[in-house]
Amino acid sequence: MTTVENAVAVSEPSAGLLRRPRANRGFLSWLTTVDHKKIGILYGCTALIFLVLGGVEALLIRLQLFQPNGTVLTAGQYNQMFTMHGTTMVFLVGMPIAVGFGNYFIPLMIGARDVAFPRINMFGYWVVLFGGLFLYSSFFLGGAPNGGWFGYTPLTSAPLASGFLPGRGPDFWAIGLILLGIGSTTSAINFIVTVINMRCPGMSLMRMPVFVWMMLVVAFLTVFALPVVTVALIMVWFDRNTGTLFFAPAAGGDPLLYQHLFWIFGHPEVYILILPGMGIVSETLPVFSRKPLFGYSIVVFSGIAIGFLGWGVWAHHMFATGLGPVAISAFGLATMLIAIPTGVKIFNWLGTVYKGSVKLTSSMMFSLGFIVLFTLGGVSGVTHSIVPADTQQTDTYYVVAHFHYVLFGGLLFALFAGFYYWYPKIFGRMLNETLGKINFWTLFIGMNLTFFPMHFLGLWGQPRRTYRYDAGLGWDTLNKLITVGSFIIAISVLVFVVNAIVSKTRGAIAGNDPWDGRTLEWSIPSPPPEYNFAEIPEVNSRDDFWYRKYTEDEEGRLVPLPSGGAEAEAQAAHDGHGIHLPAPSYYPLVMALGLPILGYAAVFHSVWVAIIGAIVLLFGMYAWAIEPAD
């Protein structure tokens, strides 16, 4: 039987339309690659560009609010800015950077040569990129989304003719988010299968690096959460464009239904964003303290617990909607519960650093900054669970302060820790440490200057999503301070971008293991060869690579092993001959290209565009299916 199949394959070498592309260098290779590392870099660079775009939107917002009754932006432009800022930072920055790190490092950390579905992996990236471009093309096609990143109905779902939200913005928003959801879901499925099936021998679940664990939890959250919001968005599109009345109260529809659907997605989404950050610092803190993670299993299980509890707290975004005292008490208490596993993680990270040998690299500074700032965001989160107080805080700048401490002070600081930590592995060269320290301190100061005063503004009555505020309300000084802070942040990000570009060619050569690392990615050359591991490693313990370099004496103190690191050279000496890797492919790009075309068809109600989109999509799908293996 086997021989027959082989015979067929040999006699018809080009069963597909085209031979698979060969290039693994040059521009074309970036379009057709299925190498998880290249895809990871694509995700990272794409997300950084969107970070700059989202940042520019934030700066425009801050210029507008620099003084009372500001006139930098019109009301309509301002509403587009805050909608696009939120949408961009959540869907085009936070999620893709985490997916980028996951792509690059999950296989390396579990000792695999690639992810489970390399072509689907590439497809996911293209969908995210096209989804982002689709969303941003709205600026040139009649106005960007202007209904908020949360897009509450009936504002967003009312028919265009009602005039509540002029322009095609809400349609671009709904369809764009559906596209981004498709991308996130495919990459999440890929991660789950990769982590479950492709771990190297000996890599039991409880030996996995915490980053891999957190990405696994995130992948499950993504797979379950995204469909819910996709349903809600499809309903919004139907309401707005075809006259269905899911959310139209006059016809018996219910606007609150949308809020439930959105936040059943939206709260797990918060953990989709923050858990990768927690994973990253769970890698960096032990490395730069030269101690194992304190209470590994508690940290892992806390992460899982956060993932589970995240499903039971959505209505804390709706405390002012009048759900009734029993429901809001329950959701208030559930919200308090989440503070417990989160607190445990913070204490365990401190326990890791305690009595360690702390090397204050830029990566470590960002990791420690993460602990401090995330804690601040955490305790203000607890104050939201005090429901009566939340009815004062919600929809004010207090909330803006809270979630920026979590997502900027938390997630973004952790991502920066990750950049400094893993850049040498990805590009083979170190990021400049002096610029790194400048990056850290300006970001830390700018971040606190920007977001700390917002706590006060919110409690003093300034609502969010308002394009202007009147003079004489006592908000002027702090708003000025905040705008200054936001520009310090901009300078800091600029420093990082310069550092990243310059260090790529001029940075010090990193070597395999510049940080004295603990996990498998440090056992191979930097940048890693295409096949990652010349020989699939076999691990015998958690932090296996560390214990190839060190052992512990009777007091538990470190003792270097004489043979430490020898293996890495053996890996490097291998030329990769005879290792089979999946071949590049054109079709993820082709198939993904069909989706935004269908998106434009949905926005502009064009059957012809829809037909073109469907043809591209189906062509890509079939060509993909019959593509030859090599």
Binding site: A250, G295, A320, G343
Partner: protein, 378 residues
């Protein structure tokens, strides 16, 4: 006293002082819209609950911050001295302890929280004043009723008696106008919020939400829509004016009366208002007990602010407003005077710029004439 306990006491005093500084600095400006300077029974109860919790939160944040900096500095790598740290993998009793301690703190916080939730949701008192707030794009209408019959309809500002509970019914669509405004759909979500009197309660079309507040002192309290509701959400402000029971009753009786001047008595101003510019399509000006799509103007001149409470009611402001309202508050109203259902019309249109074809264009003098008429509507 041992060194350690002295240090501990110092830490307690220091964090107490920092907390106090936050409280003092944090109370902020007396702007009429400050949740930390509550003037109503409910807002005070909320404040009394949250301020100690802010204290606990600040102490926790400071402790974690100090611990982080301490660890970073105290255990910084010193080659040859501490580069072989003890490899501690965990400490289950310690980890259980720092799971349980926050749990206990939260349990302690949970009790007063839940009890206040239920207290704030209690049924209104029998003598409560019933007021309906209708959230519109982008202004607030307030209805007073007497035994179920609407008696007084006002916009942007409403009066309440001090010391008596006010029971607010919050609606999006205005049933008296039918469920379909001229532009097609029902209303959108708003949120009713007067920070110094109580927390927010959303105004959701199709849901009948209620809330209560009791003003403890006479004064003017600022409110603002707190749920994004489209273009001019930022401008959707309002005022609660709390006064003594007798002053309040006098105000209510005054509002219930007919107009100081009818459209007919107003002569030229009335003609421009009712005929040439058809303002009466959207505004009532002779009967303070009816709803209209735009604010009821019967007693406009008795108010101190207008235009969603964003502008002071002066002649100059009013003339500008009548002449070109969207230049003062952005509106989605460019084809308002097209037949119903054909034009986008949310908010007041401009009568002087970009007016729909076939419609007269207002001169400034005409706007002044209309304003002079409206300013007589005490």
């Amino acid at each position: 006293m041992t060194n350690r306990s002295r240090r501990k006491r110092l830490a307690v005093v220091a964090s107490g002082l920092v907390g106090l500084a936050f409280v003092v600095a944090g109370c902020g400006p007396a702007n009429g819209q400050n949740s930390l300077l509550p003037k109503g029974t409910q807002a005070k109860e909320i404040n009394n609950l949250i301020v100690p919790i802010f204290g606990v939160a600040i102490v926790v944040a400071i402790l974690v911050g100090v611990a982080t900096v301490y660890c970073a500095v105290r255990f910084r790598a010193r080659p040859g001295i501490n580069d072989r740290p003890r490899q501690v993998h965990g400490n289950p009793p310690l980890e259980i302890a720092w799971t349980l301690i926050p749990a206990v703190i939260l349990a302690v916080i949970a009790v007063p929280t839940v009890s206040l939730i239920f207290k704030l949701n209690e049924a209104p008192k029998p003598n409560a004043l019933e007021v309906t707030a209708v959230g519109k794009q982008w202004w607030w209408q307030f209805d007073y009723k007497d035994q179920g019959v609407k008696t007084v309809v006002v916009a942007d500002e409403f009066h309440v008696p001090v010391g008596r509970q006010v029971h607010m019914t919050l609606t999006g669509c205005d049933p008296s106008l039918g469920t379909t405004p001229p532009t097609g759909d029902c209303n959108v979500i708003h949120s009713f919020w007067v920070p110094e009197l109580n927390g927010k309660r959303d105004v959701i079309p199709g849901h009948l939400n209620t809330t209560t507040f009791t003003a403890d002192k006479p004064g003017t309290y600022l409110g603002q829509c707190a749920e994004y509701c489209g273009l001019s959400h930022a401008n959707m402000r309002f005022r609660v004016i709390a006064q003594s029971e007798s002053d309040f009753q006098a105000w209510l009786a005054g509002q219930h009366e007919g107009p100081a001047i009818t459209i007919e008595q107003a002569g030229e101003g009335g003609k421009l208002f009712a005929q040439k510019y058809a303002c009466t399509n959207c505004h009532a000006a002779e009967d303070s007990s009816v709803s209209s799509y735009g604010p009821n103007l019967t007693h406009l001149a008795s108010r101190s602010t207008f235009a969603s409470g964003y502008y002071k009611l002066t002649r100059a402001n009013l003339v500008d407003w009548i002449y070109n309202a969207p230049s003062m508050i952005p509106m989605e109203s460019k084809d308002c005077r097209l037949p119903v259902g054909q034009g986008i019309c949310v908010g007041m249109p401009s009568f002087s710029q970009n007016t729909p074809a076939g419609q007269p264009t207002m001169t400034r003098a005409e706007a002044e004439t209309i304003a002079d008429y409206l300013l007589q509507l005490k």
